[in-house]
C-alpha cells in the first residue's frame, strides 16, 4: 500500500542553506498563503511574505537531525511521537535526532495546541511528507554527486546507498548539496510494512532531563530581576471584592507591591514564600455578585431539570420514542450523577509575563498558546505579533491549561507593575478559584420488547455550564429504532471547562453501566447484547452513525479474547466499550471476592488508535488513562458550600495512589489504519467496566461517582490490594 502524494509549492517551502551549512526544510499546510523561504546574502534563512509553516527539520553537516515539535507537551508524549513520524520517512538515524520544543509561531505551525487527542491525526500526513521530502532531496543530491540514477539509490538509517558500487554517504555529508536541489513535486511515502521507527518502543526524549531535575517546567523558569506574585481571588464563586486593606501585607519583608485589579488582589515580592506569607495578611471584604450555590442546590436542581417539560434542547430524535415506551414489555429507567472535579495537574498554575513598551514576553505551560496570546493582546490592546510565547514543558494539563485565565492575569499584573513577574498559584488557589469538570446528571430510559430487544432509548443530560452533555451520535444511536436524546444546561458562576475526555469522562460510565443493566435485565450477556445492537446498526442503520461499527466490534472481540470473558469461575468481570476522540477502547475489569470483600484485581484494555506510533508511549497513555479514570471514578469529588469548594488540597481532594491501582493489561488492534490520538480515549470506559464488575461481584449497582462515597460501597476500598 504505497502512497504517492503530490506536493505543490504550497505544501513545501523552498529550502535553503542554513548559516552553518546543512539542509533546512520548512513546510506548511495552509493553502491561504503562497510561501517563500529565501536565503539572504549571509546565508541566514529568512522569511519573505506571509509564510505559514507547520514545522521544520534541519540536518547539520555532522549528521544531527533537529526536529522541532510544535505542540505543547504535557505527558501525552507528543514530543517523542511527532519526531518519530518525521524521522521514519526521512529514514533517519534516531540516535542522531535532537528534538526541540518550538515556541508559539502561528505562521510556522498549525493547530499548535494540546486537546481533543487531535495532534496525531491532524499532523500524520504532513509530518510524513516533511520527512519524505527531505529524504528525496538527499537522494537526489547523492545521485547528482555520483552521476547515477535516483532509482539506483536507497536510504537506511541516515545514509544514502548506491548498492551497485557499494558507495554510501551520510545525510550530514549530503545536507548542504541537498539544500540546492529543487523541491520535489511528488514524494513517495513508505509502505507501512517498511516502518522501522514507527511501531517501536522508544523512550521519551526528555527522560534524562526529567529524572535529573532539569528546569523544564514553567514553575522552574527564572529570569534575573523577575518578581514573584500570588493572587488572592474570591474565595467563593458569585462574590466580588468590596474593599481591600493591604497595609499589613505591604509591610511584610520582601513585598514590593500589592495591586488590586478586577477581582484579584496581587501580592508582589522577591520570593514565593514571602508573597505567600504576606498574602495571608490581606483583609478583603467581598459582596455578593451572582448566585451563591451549594452542591445540595445542584442535586435538587438536577432532579427538577430531569423532570422539566420545557427548556430542553433536542439533540437527536429517531422514530417514535413515546410509542416504543408505551408498547414496551419492559421499561428500565435509571439516573447517574457525577460531581465537579479539579484537573489537579501536579504542576500548579503559573506563568511568567513581561509587558514592556516595545513588546510582551510570555513564558510558561499552556495547552493553547495561541489563545493565550490572542486574549493577552485583546486585554493589553496590543497587536498579537508583539507578543512572544515560549512554551515550557507542562507538568500535566488534563484540560486545565486549555484555559488562559492564568496567562492573561500574569500579563495584566506585569503591565500594572511595569516589571517582569511570575504569578504562582498554590494548590489551594487552583482548588478554590480554578476551573472544574462540571457536575452532570443523566436519566436513561430503555424500552424492551418481549424478546429482550431494545426498541426504545431515551437520554436526558442536565449539567452545569454544559451546553451539550449527551454526545448524541455515539453508540447506541444508530442501533435503536426509536430514540430521543435531549439536554438542559444550568448556568452557574462556578468556572467550568474541558476536563480530559470532556463529557465522555462521565457519560461513558453512565451509558455503559446502564447498558449492562439493560442487558442483564433481559437475561443477555453484556457483550453479546452490544454486539447484537452493532449488528443491527450495520444491517439497518437508524439515522447517522459516526462510529465505525467494525472497529467497535474488533476492540470488543479482542478484549473478550484477552480477558477470557465469561470463562473465569472465581472472578466477576465487567465490560465496557467506548468510542471517543476518534479512537476505540474496550475494557474488562475483574473483581474478586476476598474475605467477603470485593477487590479490583485487573483491568484489560483493547484499543484501536490505528497505527501505533510508539509502543511505549501508547501503552503509557492507555494505562495512565485507565488509572486516571479509575481514580476519579473511585475518589474524585469537589463539592460546594456557599459558593466555595469544600476540598482545598490533597488532604481531602483525593487522588488515586499506588496501592489502589490494579494490574492493567493493554492490547492494540493492528489494522494499519492512519493513526488517531490516545491522550483521552482510554479513560472513558474505565468507570463502566469497574462498576459492572462490582455489580457482578456484589449485586450492588453504582449510580454515582465517586463510588467510594456511595452507600453501595460502604466499607469497601475497591482499589486497595488485599
Amino acid at each position: 500500500m504505497s502512497t504517492l502524494l503530490k506536493t505543490n509549492r504550497r505544501d513545501f517551502i523552498k529550502i535553503a542553506a542554513t548559516a552553518g551549512g546543512g539542509l533546512f526544510l520548512g513546510f506548511q499546510l495552509s493553502d491561504s498563503f503562497a510561501s517563500v523561504l529565501s536565503v539572504s546574502s549571509d546565508g541566514i534563512v529568512e522569511t519573505a511574505g506571509e509564510i505559514s509553516f507547520n514545522n521544520y527539520l534541519s540536518i547539520s553537516p555532522d549528521g544531527i537531525v533537529t526536529i522541532f515539535s510544535p505542540n505543547p507537551e504535557l505527558g501525552q508524549n507528543i514530543k517523542t511521537s511527532f519526531p518519530m513520524i518525521v524521522a521514519e520517512e526521512l529514514d533517519a538515524d534516531w540516535t542522531k535526532v535532537k528534538v526541540k520544543q518550538a515556541n508559539l509561531d502561528a505562521k510556522k505551525y498549525e493547530r499548535q495546541l494540546t486537546g481533543g487527542s487531535g495532534a496525531i491525526p491532524h499532523s500524520w500526513e504532513r509530518l510524513r511528507k516533511a520527512g519524505a521530502t527531505a529524504r528525496q532531496m538527499l537522494v537526489e543530491a547523492a545521485a547528482k554527486r555520483w552521476n547515477v540514477s535516483v532509482s539506483t539509490l536507497t536510504t537506511d538509517t541516515g545514509v544514502v546507498w548506491h548498492k551497485e558500487s557499494g558507495r554510501k554517504l551520510s545525510y550530514g555529508e549530503l545536507a548542504t548539496e541537498a539544500s540546492t536541489v529543487p523541491i520535489p513535486t511528488e514524494v513517495k511515502l513508505k509502505d507501512i510494512k517498511d516502518f522501522k521507527i514507527i511501531g517501536t518502543a522508544l523512550p521519551n526524549v526528555d527522560n534524562n532531563d526529567m529524572i535529573t531535575g532539569k528546569p523544564l517546567y514553567g514553575l522552574d523558569f527564572y529570569r534575573e530581576g523577575m518578581l514573584f506574585a500570588m493572587i488572592q481571588r474570591p474565595t467563593s464563586f458569585g462574590m466580588k471584592i468590596k474593599s481591600v486593606d493591604a497595609a499589613a501585607a505591604k509591610a511584610m519583608p520582601g513585598i514590593s507591591d500589592v495591586v488590586t485589579f478586577k477581582n484579584n488582589v496581587a501580592v508582589v515580592g522577591k520570593s514565593t514564600w514571602q508573597v505567600e506569607k504576606a498574602r495571608k495578611l490581606l483583609k478583603i471584604e467581598y459582596e455578593v455578585e451572582g448566585a451563591i450555590e451549594n452542591t445540595t442546590d445542584h442535586d435538587r436542581l438536577f432532579k427538577e431539570l430531569l423532570d422539566s417539560k420545557e427548556g430542553a434542547t433536542v439533540r437527536r430524535k429517531d422514530g417514535d420514542v413515546d410509542a416504543a415506551f408505551a408498547s414496551a414489555a419492559k421499561v428500565i429507567t435509571k439516573e447517574y450523577q457525577c460531581p465537579f472535579l479539579s484537573h489537579a495537574p501536579m504542576e500548579p498554575m503559573n506563568f511568567f509575563a513581561h509587558v514592556r513598551p516595545d513588546g510582551v514576553e510570555l513564558v510558561g505551560p499552556s495547552q493553547t498558546p495561541e489563545a493565550a496570546r490572542t486574549e493577552t493582546a485583546k486585554l493589553l490592546g496590543v497587536a498579537p505579533e508583539t507578543i512572544t510565547l515560549e512554551l515550557t514543558r507542562l507538568g500535566g494539563g488534563f484540560g486545565r491549561r486549555l484555559k488562559v485565565d492564568y496567562v492573561v492575569e500574569a500579563a495584566e499584573l506585569s503591565s500594572l507593575i511595569k516589571a517582569p513577574v511570575k504569578v504562582i498559584w498554590t494548590r489551594e488557589d487552583d482548588l478554590t478559584g480554578g476551573s472544574y469538570r462540571p457536575a452532570v446528571r443523566y436519566r436513561f430510559g430503555a424500552a424492551l420488547d418481549a424478546n429482550g430487544s431494545l426498541t426504545g432509548y431515551k437520554l436526558r443530560g442536565v449539567g452545569i455550564n454544559v451546553a451539550n452533555s449527551t454526545r448524541e451520535d455515539n453508540f447506541p444511536s444508530g442501533a435503536v429504532d426509536n430514540l430521543l436524546i435531549d439536554s438542559i444546561e444550568h448556568k452557574s458562576p462556578i468556572t467550568t471547562g474541558a476536563w480530559r475526555a470532556p463529557i465522555t469522562n462521565f457519560l461513558a460510565f453512565a451509558e455503559q453501566a446502564f447498558l449492562d443493566e439493560v442487558a442483564l435485565a433481559s437475561n443477555q450477556d453484556p457483550i453479546q447484547f452490544r454486539l447484537a445492537l452493532l449488528e443491527k446498526a450495520k444491517k439497518s442503520p437508524v439515522g447517522a452513525i459516526k462510529y465505525d461499527i467494525d472497529r467497535t466490534k474488533a476492540v470488543i472481540e479482542l478484549v473478550a479474547e484477552k480477558s477470557g470473558w465469561g470463562k473465569k469461575k472465581n472472578l466477576a468481570q465487567g465490560f465496557s466499550v467506548y468510542f471517543s476522540h476518534r479512537s476505540y477502547v474496550a475494557q474488562v475489569a475483574e473483581v474478586e471476592m476476598k474475605n467477603g470483600k470485593p477487590s479490583l484485581q485487573k483491568i484489560y484494555a483493547a484499543a484501536d488508535c490505528g497505527i501505533v506510533i510508539n509502543k511505549s508511549g501508547a501503552n503509557q497513555q492507555v494505562t495512565g488513562g485507565i488509572v486516571d479514570g479509575l481514580g476519579h471514578a473511585l475518589y474524585g469529588q469537589l463539592t460546594f458550600k456557599d459558593g466555595a469548594t469544600e476540598q482545598k488540597n490533597f488532604n481531602n481532594y483525593r487522588l488515586i495512589r499506588m496501592k489502589e491501582v490494579p494490574e492493567v493489561e493493554v492490547h492494540f488492534v493492528n489494522n494499519g489504519i492512519d493513526p488517531t490520538g490516545l491522550g483521552e480515549p482510554a479513560l472513558p470506559p474505565t468507570g463502566g467496566a469497574v462498576a459492572n464488575a462490582y455489580f457482578k461481584a456484589t449485586g450492588k449497582r453504582l449510580y454515582s461517582q465517586p463510588f467510594s462515597k456511595q452507600e453501595e460501597m460502604k466499607g469497601v476500598n475497591l482499589g486497595e490490594k488485599m
Binding site: 505527558g75 526528555d206 529524572i211 520570593s271 514565593t272 501536579m346 500548579p348 494548590r427 486516571d628 488540597n649
Partner: protein
C-alpha cells in the same frame, strides 16, 4: 531574616531567608535547585521529597531553621551523571509522562532502597504510596523500583 549555612549535595550553600521558610522554597528560589518540585505544600503529594541525612522528607513541610547541619540531598545531587541505579531504572522502564512528580518519586525510591535494598512488592507499594502521580505512571514506577533493586548487590 536570618542567615543559614546549608549542607546540600556535598556542598555548602548560604541563604538569607526567614526562619519559617520551607526548605523547598530555599532550594528553588534562593539556590536555583529546582529539581525539587512544589505540588501541594502540605506534605501530601511527595513532589518535594529530598533526603535529610539519607531519610526521605517533604521539603515543603520542613522549615529551613530545622535543617541545621544535617546533610540534604536533592535530585541534583543524587548522582553526578544522572546514573544512580534508580534513575537508570527510570530511564530503562521509560517511566515519566509529564514528569513533574518523578524527581520526588525517585528520591522516595532511592531512600527506600538505601534502607531496604530488596523490598517486597508490598513494601514498594507502602513506601511509594505517599507520592502522587497524576498521570498514573504507578505501574512503571513500581517496575522501575523493582528493577533498580534487582541491580543492587
Amino acid at each position: 531574616m536570618a542567615h543559614y549555612n546549608l549542607q546540600i549535595n556535598g556542598k555548602s550553600y548560604e541563604a538569607d531567608v526567614d526562619a519559617d521558610t520551607p526548605l523547598l522554597w530555599v532550594l528553588r528560589d534562593n539556590l536555583s535547585l529546582v529539581g525539587t518540585k512544589y505540588g501541594c505544600g502540605i506534605g501530601q503529594c511527595g513532589a518535594c521529597t529530598v533526603h535529610l541525612n539519607g531519610i526521605a522528607v517533604r521539603s515543603c513541610s520542613l522549615v529551613v531553621a530545622a535543617v541545621g547541619t544535617k546533610s540534604v540531598t536533592t535530585i541534583e545531587g543524587l548522582s553526578v551523571n544522572g546514573d544512580h541505579p534508580v534513575q537508570a531504572a527510570w530511564a530503562e522502564i521509560d517511566v515519566p509522562q509529564c514528569g513533574y512528580c518523578q524527581t520526588g518519586q525517585i528520591m522516595t525510591a532511592s531512600a527506600l532502597l538505601s534502607k531496604n535494598p530488596k523490598p517486597t512488592s508490598e513494601q514498594i507499594d507502602t513506601a511509594m504510596n505517599g507520592n502522587i502521580c497524576r498521570c498514573g505512571t504507578y505501574h512503571r514506577i513500581h517496575e522501575a523500583v523493582a528493577l533498580a533493586s534487582s541491580k543492587l548487590k
